[in-house]
Amino acid sequence: MPVFVEDPAQFSKPRLKSELIAHNVTLPAVESKKQVYVELYLKHIVQKSAADFSSDEEDDDVVEVQDSQDFEEEKDPEMLDPSVLTDEELKTTLLKYGVEAGPIVATTRSIYERKLQRLLKPAQPRQNGGTGDADQYSDSEGDEESVSQQGSPETVSLMEENLHVDIRFESRIPLSSSGPEIKRGNNRSNNQGPRPRPYWQEVATVDKYTMTNRSLFVTPKTSLFKRQIKEPVTDVLMEMFPETEPTPTGIAATRRRPIKGAAGRPVQFKYPDLPASPMTLQRWAVEHRLVPLWVQILVFFIVACLLYLIYAAMEDSLANPFVTLLDNLSMETETEGLSLQAEP
């Protein structure tokens, strides 16, 4: 064992555990922090090796441990359990995954914990027996990492992950049954916090798959596609079908996307990642007019009548229409006068 690597704070927790077991030291409680393991390790194991190594080394180790206590660098995630991590550890772990976290306070801690859990998920097998899910998530994580390496902003990479998630959820067979199932699996594995899952979580999960996500993904999608155009063709194909593993000869069998509106699949699930077609855009424009249709027609007719009256007034300057108008009026007054006279 090399001497110069004797920094127990840099060991992972399982490593510390095994070392303690090897030296017949009783382990602390399972949920205890790594620091406890480090202390025990130092206490027992460093004492044992004190005979072999000089006391200077021991002092160095102690000093080093105290230094590393301040920033607590870790190589592996803390037992894959974000709730055990301190705020600092959580932040650094998220940073390792390329997620630039904001301040971790009471209200945001649960958010970041959940995010870390989602990032750690590919390392753990899913409860739903969805090995395909694990592959897909790991692929999305790979895509996310590669994208973040290209220097794209974090939100775009997150959007991309969402895109992949959406594509995958589409290409699966009956969405109504598998969708909430997957989401519940998420909920179950996320249930580490003290918060209970309220009843409306079930309803919300169904809603997720019945709502169109189209409006949200238009802007980042264009940037995503612009980036792809510069890349070679094979990347586009891999992008479209991320769940297939690359074979030496190229992509093997690929699952075809469901046809629009066919076989009982609602039209909403067509191709959310493609930009909206001109027809759909027009349809939306028609549906979302500011002024109602009937009001527009009414206004049109009023304007038409006004124009006709103006035209009638202007036609032949003042001659015929006014003369006939005056005649009519005089006739009416005459008849009125006669009728008044007739009936006293």
């Binding site: 974090e154 919300a204 169109t212 189209r214 979302h288």
Partner: protein, 90 residues
């Protein structure tokens, strides 16, 4: 991109001041009540919750879903509303 709702336009048109959470796009009566129960009684408190994760969409949506059970559309409306408000006034 679907056009924005009337509520969205009204919210984004002026500083939110002391507006209630119901004024946010995507937050109706039911969701507004749930948010108020959790302590988010004014729109600016939700704004705070939007700003702390550095305006990150996914985190904010997750938080919204977890806090009041908003579905994807409501999350999107609320996020878009707050983001546009921030672009104009922040």
């Amino acid at each position: 991109m679907s056009s924005t709702s009337q509520k969205h336009k009204e919210f984004v048109a002026e500083p939110m001041g002391e507006k209630l959470v119901n004024a946010l796009a995507g937050i109706g009566e039911v969701l507004g009540k749930r948010l108020e129960e959790k302590g988010f009684d004014k729109a600016y408190v939700v704004l705070g919750q939007f700003l702390v994760p550095k305006k990150d969409e996914e985190l904010f949506r997750d938080w919204l879903k977890d806090t009041c059970g908003a579905n994807v559309k409501q999350q999107g409306d609320c996020y878009g509303c707050l983001r546009e408000w921030c672009d104009s006034f922040l």
